[in-house]
Every structure is written in C-alpha cells, then in structure tokens.
Subunit: 478 residues, 2 copies
C-alpha cells in the first residue's frame, strides 16, 4: 500500500497511568511526559539533564535560553569545516530555515548552523567538540515529527543525519538489514522488498522519515499489530554519545544475550542519550497476498468486539486494524482531492480499516469475506466492502493516512498521541468534544489493535484561550 | 504440544563476533561471555561488579570466596524470621541441598539459608538487609538452568521466588497477563490458554521454570521464530534493586514511550541488576490448528534451503523450525523409553521438525502437504511424515525435547548454547567432532530459524584432559 502522506506515529504518551480507572498503578519513576501541552526538550545530546519547556502554539516559546550554553562563533564554523568540508557545513539561510521548522510549521527554532556529517567518526568529532565548547545540539532525521522534537528550540547546532544514507549489508537468508541511520524508511522498504522481505514498520511519513529517527522515537506505525515493537525488531545499534564516544552494539544476531543489552536505552529516548548512527533490523519475509476491507460500525463497543473477533478469526493474517470516527472521514472527504467515502449509503459513527497479509491471495480473501459476513450477522458491522484491486485498496488507505494532511488544512491542530486501554480509548474523545463544544472539531482515530489513539483538536487558529479546555493533562489530573 | 522435559534455552552466547568470518565486527563493549567454559557469576545482586570465575566440571571451584562478603550468623537468621516468619526461612539440610544444586547435578553451592519471600516488600527487606550486612545473595527461580546460573557458588543466601506465584490480572481483550515472578511458565500457559491466548514463549523446562527466571535470562525457546524476543513481549516489570529499592515499571500498555525504557536492562541481565518480582506480558491469541511434520535432509545446506522455503511458503503459519543431526536421534532412541524414529526406512544425516499454527486445520494441513511435496521434488527433503493426530505430534516433539534428558543419561555433558549465522551454524559441530574424535560424542541441534545452536559434547565422565579440545573459546581464538 502506498503510504506517502505525513503522519506522526512516533511518540506515544502513556496517559492511562494518570487516569482514574487504573488507580493501582503508580506513576513511572521517570515521571509522565506529554507531547504537546508541555514539551520537555530532551533532544539536546549535550546536556540531557537540563530540560527546557515550552508551551504549544504557533510561535510560543516562553522560557529563556539556558545561558550555560555557549554561542556559536566563527572559530566553531572553521573547525566544523575542517572536519566536514565546506559542503558539510550549511549556513545558507534558506536551507537552515527548512531545518529550523517542523512539518506542521508549528515549532520554529533559530539555529544558525546545519551540519551534515557523512560518517560515524564525523558525528563523533562534532559531538566531542560541541561537548567541550558547550554548544547545544539537536540531532535531526527526516524532520517529520509533529511535536517539535526534531527542531531546535533556540540556537542549537542542527546535526542532520541525511548524509548517512548508505545500506551497509543485507543478509537475505535471515532477513537482516544493516544500514546507516539517515536512510529514508521508504528507500529501505523498497530495497528489502526487492529481496523478498519487508520492513517491520511502516508509517505515513515513510517517504521522508529516517530509520534512525524511527528508532530514536520508537515509532510504532501501521505494522505494529503484526510485527510488534522496535524493541523486538532492532537487533543492533551504533550510537555516538554526547562526548563523542562511539558505542558499537551493532550485532546482527537474532538472539544475543551477551552482556547488558544497552541498545534498548536508545530506542525511544529521542536522542537524549546519544545519536543513532547505524542500525541492524530484522525484516520479516514478504508475503504476496494483501487484502483490505473498509467497514462501518454503529458504536465504539462494536469496534472493540470486531477487533477481538478479528484477532481470533483472521489470526495469523491480520496485519492492520485501524479505526476512525465519522469526523475523520468527513474531514478527509472535505479536504483531500479525490477522496470518497467507500460506504456512502448511510451515515455511520465509526469506520474500521482491516488489512490482511498472507501467502495465498484467494484463500485469504475467502477468509476475510467469511469473517465480514459473520460480523454483519452478529451485528458488529453495519456495512462493509473489500477492495477488489490495488487501486481500491490504496483509496481505502488514502482516507486513513490522509487525516493528518486534511487536518492541517483546517488551520490549527492540537495533536495528542495516546496509549490507553482499548475499552476506555474513546472516552477521552467524547469528553474533549463535550468540553470544547462548538469551539473546535475533535477527531479520534488510530491503531485500535495497539490501544493507540490519535486525538486531534482542530481550530481555525492557535488560541491560548482554549488551552485549558484542550489539555489532556488537565483532564488527567482533574 | 506437551513440553514436559527439562531443556535449557535461556542463555545464548554470541560467539559469531569472535569467529573469523565476521572480522569487521568489533567485540562488544561489555566483553564476550561464554556459558560453560568460564562462568562469570554475575548473579550476586549484592555486588555485581565483583565477578567470580569457576571452571566447569563435577565439583571444580578453583577460585576463592571473596572475603569482603560477610558470613551468615544467627542474628541474620533471626532478622529474616522476623520479616518472613518461620516458614519463609529454610534451614533444613535436605531442602537447602536441592536449592544448592542445579538440575544437571553439575554445579553445587554451599548455601546454608534459603529464603522464601511472599511479597515484593519482603524481597525488598531481604535485599536491603543483605546489602547493609554485605551478605552475598543468589536469586533463584525454578532452578532449571543448565549452566549453574541459578545456584550459589559459595555460601550465598538463596532468595527463591517460589512463594510469589500469584496471577495478578488478565486483560482478555488485549491479552495482557500480569503476574508475580515466581509463577511456573506451564501454569501461566494453562491459565491463558483457558482464556483463548498463549504465552509468547515455550520451552522444555516449562513445568518448573519461573516467568521471572525466563525474563532474567531472556529465554528464547520454541516460539521465538513466531513471536520473537521477550524484549518485544514483556510490557512491564517490577524489580527490586540490590539495596532494596523497588522499581515500578509495571505498565500494561502495548505502546509506552514515556521516559527511558529501563525494564529492558533487566531482561537477560540474570539478576545481576535486580530481582524481577512482577511481570506484565503480552500474550498472542491462541489459534486452533497445529500441524507437525518430521522430515529428513541429506546435508546441512538442504536444511538451510528448507528454512528459507518454509519462511516463504508457510509464511504466517510457521511456528517452529527445529533441526537435529542424526547423532541426536540415535541418542534419543537409545535412552528414551518408547521413542522411535518416525523415518526408520533409511539413515539420514539431518532431521527437521516443522510446526505450523493457524486458524484453519484443513487448510493449514493442505498447505503443509503441498510444501513438503514441493520440497521433496526440489530435493531439499529426503523423506517426511506429517503427524495425523495429537499423539503422533507429541511423539515428534518428544524426540526434539528429549535430547537434553537423553544426553544426561550418558554421563558427562558439556553444553553450549550458541548464536551463529545460520549458514555457518553447523561448521562448529563438525570442527568439534574432528577435534575430539573417539573421545566424545558431539551433538548439534537447535532452533535453526533463530540461528541458535545447542552444541552438546557427551562423555562418560567429566575429565579435565578434554577441556582444551572441547573448548569453544579455544576454537574461537585459534
């Protein structure tokens, strides 16, 4: 399926620990972290312990720059040119402007220097120098994150991994890919697919995001339900620490119990412990048969029951279970060219996209058809359609993947990416809708199979007067 | 399938990094660790930095006890009784004797005290006290490990988790099990199967091993090829550190990117960083259809090609791919009651057990039959048989799982558990056979799909004169 639109699928917030329905669980020792409401800028590899906060909004940066960080001078630039050459040191305003701002145009830094190392040694030299000089650094991958994690807050030096985009090796017996961290996910995907394998993760931003960024943010995405977390799929990493030390954990073995498995600390720590420079990933065998169905449900309970039924009856071929409320569909139809509702006959409250991937086209389709028939008989599904060709399947995916793109067109988007137990997942959407009334449009969609909700609040412009109402945190602690 | 025999599947040694065929990979920062030849006793939670070595053999413990550790006295025993009660403090010689020796009878400690805490708080109090008093501690689960990791080296206090065997909760929508660490794997397995799910790991020792021990040793086992590593399946942990601090990382969310994911440090660190007291595990949906085939191959290359073909053609239903050389089969037939070769017509060099698990019995069987037919036509398989009922399937598994049990009956067993790239996996078996000649019997078997070789060297008794020849390490550095 083509997933060409941008979509944030990298940071998941555990909010359930703060919800009253699991009172027995304590708050994590590291403390909770929210994505949007309060941004804790852990991305400086130089001084992870000093976090900086800023509130969301179009240009809001209320905190002061930490004066302990040095300011860039011409000697620094000379040094960087001496190790990277002129091409690796970017001072051109237009090029830096692109790296200073996130894809949403919501977070904007004021860096004056973009560095493009070509090797791990160069990354090491950069970080070692910046550490000594106390220059703040922000590592940057494809800059596709939607919560400001990949752009500077102030004048940090941007270290882009874009120049480290080489595939190092591929073991086509065991499906083990080793590459540099700056490889674009889609390029890796195309490469391994030609070898008969697939990447264990897939997300809307695949055309731009880097595998190093995927790992640093512990990206989930669309294949999580089938292939699980990167903690299970990343076999090895090479990482450069803030002082320039290179940590070689680049094993390519499926099982490796030697010593402490330190690589996991770097999966999801967002560059705060080091910069990922090389990765070894286990890639599953590519299976030839994909089928996609687009269904409607009358209520959220039916969506949940459908998920359970899909797990039982589609079992080993289930590869995606995405849900969207009707607000998402309406938005996609309004703002995306060529998008139509595959089930236009009536208005439904919820829509579900189910994908199966297996080794036998006709058998899998028969199985999916039987499943849908039974689900309709059981009253879980109101209406449904199975894609008859790749074009139809792409159209179904286009709706699900286009929601982010469509929501940007409205104006301001407050985005939350939440992990909540499935049975309670939609409550927060309804609560938010109730709080905001006509002030904003509230969308709920996401990876239901993973208990992962994308909660988007749309408004014509960013407005701090809505801040309190639109705050997940205020609901949590209320 | 019933897996009732003991089998070690917990520690995997990365030896490939030390083999000449991957010269570009550096040794890991933590240094290599072998399981048997040199034992680095990292299991003392009190002082992880001071490792003790001992060579293998029936009673060989050549190194001195670290005098920095205190000796147990009657005040200590009184204190433990004050927190655990009389039943939680075991001084009975017979009961301690069982906890002092491993299942193989090869490693024997001299502990005088076995503690049986019933709660995390009790574990915390024990470790806090031992830390202050500098009493060495060895945490013990089911004591099913085969390399001496679960028994004392000297007079360490044994802290058994056997009393912490309660299931805390099960989320039967998402398949998330939360339990205490002392639960026996088979009990958990039975429990979740009744709910329509399965444990993501299965191993020969399931009837005795604890889930806490599985996690502390990062057990792989028979379902690894299908469900992957515990790093992907363990959602949360509660751990008590050596000073008694309780670390609550017991999240039950499928996705959780809040803070640093510290739990991974405790998966596979063998109790050296802390004692696992509670676990949350993701359990996959139980699928109704299991098929088992037993095949023979004429050479190792055919086994490899068969694995690749199985990944492609059985794809989503492949749940085990185990291989054994004919020495294993001969041994099992000689020493295990009622075991027969399912393919007696001729002598083959290699045997492969393939298991499929899916949602449709007849379809899966048809698929497996077609696969076998094609593999025979392609010359990969010499002969093969598909189990017609559960009894036959159990018999096939009995051969594979009985190898450990049969090997103990010979006398002395030198056991290695190695991760090696599949294409080179069998070289080391042949090299060992060549070195040892008639002095010992060398068996090669294991989880081919995971690149995990069990290399067993059998001799009538432990004899240090074979030590050098039987050393994997000497081959590695040669």
């Amino acid at each position: 399926m083509p997933h060409t639109e941008y979509e944030f699928a990298s940071r998941t917030v555990n909010s359930c620990r703060r919800f009253h329905w699991i009172p027995s669980l304590q708050r994590p020792p590291c403390g909770p972290r929210t994505n949007v409401e309060t941004y804790e800028g852990q991305h400086s590899a130089n001084k992870a312990s000093e976090v900086q906060k800023r509130t969301f909004g179009s240009a809001a940066t209320h905190n002061q720059r930490n004066p302990a960080y040095s300011e860039l001078n011409s000697d620094d630039v000379c040094y960087f040119k001496s190790i990277l050459g002129d091409n690796g040191v970017v001072q051109d305003e237009d090029r830096i402007a692109v790296a200073n701002v996130d894809w949403m145009g919501k977070y904007k830094g004021a860096s004056q220097l973009l560095l493009l190392p070509k090797s791990t040694k160069e990354v090491s030299k950069i970080l070692s120098y910046c550490n000594t000089r106390r220059l703040a650094v922000v590592p940057q991958g494809g800059n596709t994150g939607l919560v400001g994690g990949s752009v500077p807050v102030y004048d940090e030096v941007i270290v882009s991994l874009a120049g480290m985009d080489k595939i190092i090796s591929f073991d086509n017996v065991n499906g083990i890919l080793t590459s540099e961290a700056g490889c674009v996910l889609e390029n890796l995907s195309t490469f391994v697919e030609n070898e008969g394998f697939i990447m264990p993760l897939d997300l809307g931003a695949k055309g731009s995001c880097h595998i190093g960024g995927n790992i640093s943010t512990n990206a989930g995405g669309l294949r999580f339900i089938r292939y699980g977390s990167l903690h299970g799929n990343v076999l090895g990493l090479e990482v450069v620490l803030a002082d320039g030390t290179i940590l070689d954990m680049l094993t390519t073995l499926r099982k490796d119990n030697t010593g402490y498995d330190l690589k996991h600390l770097f999966i999801g720590s967002e560059g705060s412990l080091g910069v990922v420079t090389k990765v070894a990933v286990l890639t599953p065998a590519k299976l030839p048969a994909t089928n996609v169905a687009f269904l409607s449900c009358n209520d959220y309970t039916s969506c949940q029951k459908l998920l359970l039924a899909a797990r039982r009856n589609l079992g080993e071929i289930l590869s995606a279970f995405e849900f969207m409320d009707h607000h998402c569909i309406d938005l996609a139809i309004r703002h995306l060219e060529g998008v139509q509702n595959p089930l236009p006959a009536s208005q439904y409250k919820f829509y579900v996209l189910i994908e199966t991937t297996g080794s036998d086209e006709s058998y899998d389709k028969t199985k999916l058809e039987a499943f849908l028939l039974r689900s309709m008989e059981d009253g879980l599904v109101s209406d449904g359609v199975i894609a008859q060709d790749i074009s139809q399947a792409s159209n179904f995916w286009r709706i699900r993947e286009g929601i982010s793109e469509a929501s940007v067109k409205v104006g301001a988007v407050y985005k939350y990416d939440l992990s909540i137990p499935v049975e309670k997942l939609y409550d927060i959407v309804e609560e938010m809708r109730c709080r905001l009334g006509d002030n904003a449009e509230v969308l709920g969609y996401g990876h239901l199979g993973d208990g992962n909700l994308h909660l988007n609040i749309l408004s014509s412009k960013y407005d701090d007067s809505h801040k309190e109402e639109a705050s997940v945190q205020s609901m949590v602690w209320a």
